[in-house]
């Protein structure tokens, strides 16, 4: 029977991993083409 502290640790670690995954692996929205991907001569 895990104690309350262990449960809290697992919750904290899950939140931390979830946050990093969302931050780096799943960008919320596909950003549109910027002045950059091509030599568009942005003038």
């Amino acid at each position: 029977m895990p104690d309350i502290q262990t449960i809290l640790v697992y919750i904290a670690v899950t939140i931390a991993i979830g946050f990093l995954v969302r931050k780096f692996l799943l960008p919320k929205r596909k950003s549109k083409k910027t002045c950059g991907s091509t030599d568009c001569g942005c003038h």
């Binding site: 809290l8 919320k28 910027t34 950059g36």
Partner: protein, 704 residues
């Protein structure tokens, strides 16, 4: 429906250097927040302004732009917002901010905004300079010609702000008629265009067409505009010719308007600007002054911030101690005391440096000096494929590469911008500093040679190495990257101004906040995970460490403390992170590192500043005795050689590794966003880390 609570939506629009931000600050006070536009990293500043009893205005400070023809991502935001009538940020009223001294040029944007048929207020700012410059205005005549209402404002003195509020409150009575008839430049073409899309406003159609020809394609999902690609009756150069005609047409109108409403006494003008320019862009004194300012800046960032940083460091150490004593014993308490608190401390400790950096940068920008630096440095930087405008990002890179990469946005040439983005992470950012400091203290003797301290020299050398690596790789990239486009460079040279305390203070607070909450969350999450990985293991050996070690040392008569140390280090070796460290040991052994440094190295790829924290965790888990991390590290021995683990060879090797390696996930993420591809951040990661490995290897093998 209740309309009493409705806020009037106001958009502040204006050229850069017109004091737009000051007006925004005056209107909103500290009642503002800074976020990002969805999907892009353009800063979105909004605030609330109380107009009268019960009526409030929601004020959006749009990025500065010279016209409605976007040449950068920031400017594009303005256009997309103004073209999207159904968007949630579409303003009820546009407030165009102009500078009384540059009224002619500033009015170009105003006449374009008027063509959008939006209720528009004209703010003529910097009214306090009129006397000195011998300028007089006939407001009534201007209002009539420009079809608008005018507020004469001095954001510096705070006058005229009430007039703006009054006009916003009364926005429904503003005229929405254009003041220039843009379609006069090519009547038949514009008639055809209108006929092809009768339900759309003509000027918006024209903007859509020219935007596509000039810059990025507008985001069709965000902007409900027709597909004008079928209406391609003009070539690109014809369109550009028309745009020039449009500019001429507008200037003709503006000149005519100002002839009547704007008088300037030339003899009262001149003076300060010319004198300051002569000194600040002088071929000798210009550079001397610039380097003196840089020196002062670094002095502030590294020397003055030492005291608050030491204080923060100690406070968090005692907080951690306190938490351990007060909270009920258990694993979660350990997480708080060993993972969470040091993690937060690792973020907070950078606040003084970041604040000093932005203090200096915002003062230099507000005063108008930064443009002179750009002017002074452009030729020299260009030899390395950079632009004069790369100076700001490179300097910012000495604090943190993230804002530095974002500061590259105003570089017009894509190639110069890309090179700047790619090389900026070589600059010694403040996250490298704690690593440098602890390793230098360990391996470089604290002795003087001809009055110079070796440790200080080493630190200076590392900054120099970072800078040389940046410009050197810029030079190589300059030779490698091929580009078809010409590079252009147009920099406005604004008037010199004494920076407003309020503006500077708000910038410093906002930038520091965004660092703490942006990078801070990542560092915190990583320290929690690291702690977990160091305090848990997959095998029996981890769980039964106490038993195994006690049995192993039976009869050896070890003291309680020694036994605990043995247990803890055995446990660490068998924790998840220990296993990872052991696994990469063969790769890093030639560089002079053991598996413990390996762990710190791996975790550093998330963020460098984790290095010292990780070592602290690793070496402190090992012993109960008091002592600084430095003392513990100094005691470590290398199992291969039997000598000290941290000696000159392995120390220099580590320093070089940190100088070159791309160990910052946040920077990679920002580079990905700014270049809109994974290609460049991946190239950065691979190449920088390869350089790091090779130089570290050579250094260790030669010095050992």
């Amino acid at each position: 429906m209740i309309l009493t609570n409705k806020q009037i939506k106001v958009a502040l629009i204006g050229n850069p250097n017109t004091g737009k931000t000051s007006v925004f600050n005056q209107l909103t006070g500290l009642n503002q927040k800074v976020g990002n536009y969805p999907g892009i990293t353009v800063e979105k500043k909004e605030g609330i302004c109380k107009l009268s009893r019960g009526v409030k205005a929601h004020i959006l400070d749009l990025p500065g732009t010279y016209s409605l023809n976007a040449t950068s991502l920031d400017e594009n935001v303005v256009i997309e917002l103004l073209l999207n009538k159904n968007g949630k940020d579409y303003p009820d009223v546009a407030v165009v901010i102009t500078d009384v001294e540059n009224l002619k040029r500033n009015l170009l944007l105003f006449t374009q905004i008027k063509d959008l048929k939006l209720p528009t207020i004209l703010v003529i700012n910097m009214a306090d300079r009129m006397d000195r410059k011998g300028i007089s205005l006939d407001i009534e005549s201007l209002e009539q010609k420009l079809n608008t209402r005018i507020a004469l404002v001095s954001s510096r003195k705070g006058t005229g702000i009430d007039k703006i509020k009054e006009l916003i409150l009364d926005y429904r009575s503003l005229s929405t008629e254009p003041c220039v008839n843009a379609s006069a430049i090519d009547q038949p073409y514009f008639e055809n265009l209108q006929n092809a899309f009768p339900e759309h406003e003509l000027y918006k159609l024209w903007l859509v067409i020219t935007q596509d020809a000039n810059f990025v394609e507008l985001n069709r999902h965000a902007v409900p505009v027709p597909d004008t690609s079928s209406f391609n009756t003009k070539s690109r150069s014809e369109l550009k010719r028309l745009q020039q005609r449009e500019a001429i047409h507008r200037y003709q109108f503006i000149n005519g308007t100002l002839k009547e409403g704007y008088k300037t006494d030339i003899h009262a003008a001149k003076g300060l600007r010319a004198t300051l320019d002569r000194i600040l862009t002088h071929k000798v004194w210009g550079y001397v002054i610039f380097f003196a300012i840089l020196l002062l800046m670094f002095q502030a960032i590294f020397k003055w911030s030492e005291y608050p940083m030491d204080f923060i460091d100690q406070s968090f150490a005692s907080l951690s101690e306190w938490a351990k004593n007060v909270l009920p014993a258990g694993v979660f308490t350990n997480l708080i005391a060993e993972g969470l608190i040091p993690g937060i401390g690792g973020v907070v400790i950078f606040i003084p440096q970041i604040a000093f950096l932005f203090l200096f940068i915002s003062i230099l920008e507000e005063s108008g000096y930064m443009s002179r630096v750009v002017f002074l440095m452009d030729k020299g930087m260009r030899r390395f494929g950079l632009s004069g405008k790369s100076v700001v990002p490179l300097i910012s890179g000495a604090a943190c590469a993230i804002p530095a990469v974002m500061a590259t946005r105003n570089i017009e040439s894509w190639k110069e911008r890309l090179i700047t983005i790619l090389v900026t992470p070589f600059m010694t950012c403040s996250a490298r500093l704690p690593v440098y400091l602890i390793i230098i203290a360990l391996v470089i003797p604290d002795e003087r040679f001809m009055g110079l301290n070796y440790q200080g020299l080493m630190l200076m050398a590392l900054y120099l190495i970072g800078f040389i690596a940046a410009v050197g790789s810029a030079y190589i990239l300059h030779k490698l990257l091929k580009t078809r486009t010409r590079s252009f460079f147009v920099v406005e040279m604004p008037n010199y101004k004494i920076p407003l305390f309020k503006n500077v203070a708000i910038t410093v607070v906002e930038k520091t906040k965004s660092f703490v909450f942006g990078a801070g969350k990542i560092i915190l999450a990583i320290s929690i995970i690291l702690w977990f990985l160091a305090s848990n293991g997959p095998s029996e050996r981890f769980d039964n460490a106490e038993q195994i070690i006690t049995e192993r040392h039976q009869g050896e008569n070890l003291s309680e403390g020694e036994l605990d140390t043995e247990i803890a280090s055995y446990q660490l070796e068998n924790s998840y992170i220990g296993i990872v460290g052991k696994a990469i040991e063969p790769v890093i052994q030639p560089l002079g590192y053991d598996w413990k440094i390996g762990i710190a190295l791996v975790s550093s790829f998330a963020a460098r500043e984790v290095f010292v924290g990780t070592l602290a965790t690793i070496y402190s888990v090992g012993s109960e005795e008091e002592g600084t991390i430095k003392n513990r590290m100094a005691k470590e021995t290398n199992p291969q050689t039997g000598g000290k683990l941290f000696n000159l060879a392995s120390g220099v090797s580590l320093l070089l590794f940190y100088a070159f390696a791309m160990q910052c996930m946040s920077t990679l993420a920002i580079v990905k966003r700014e270049t809109n591809s994974w290609k460049w951040p991946m190239i950065q990661l691979v190449f920088m880390s390869a350089i790091a490995y090779v130089t570290a290897l050579i250094a260790y093998q030669v010095l050992k």
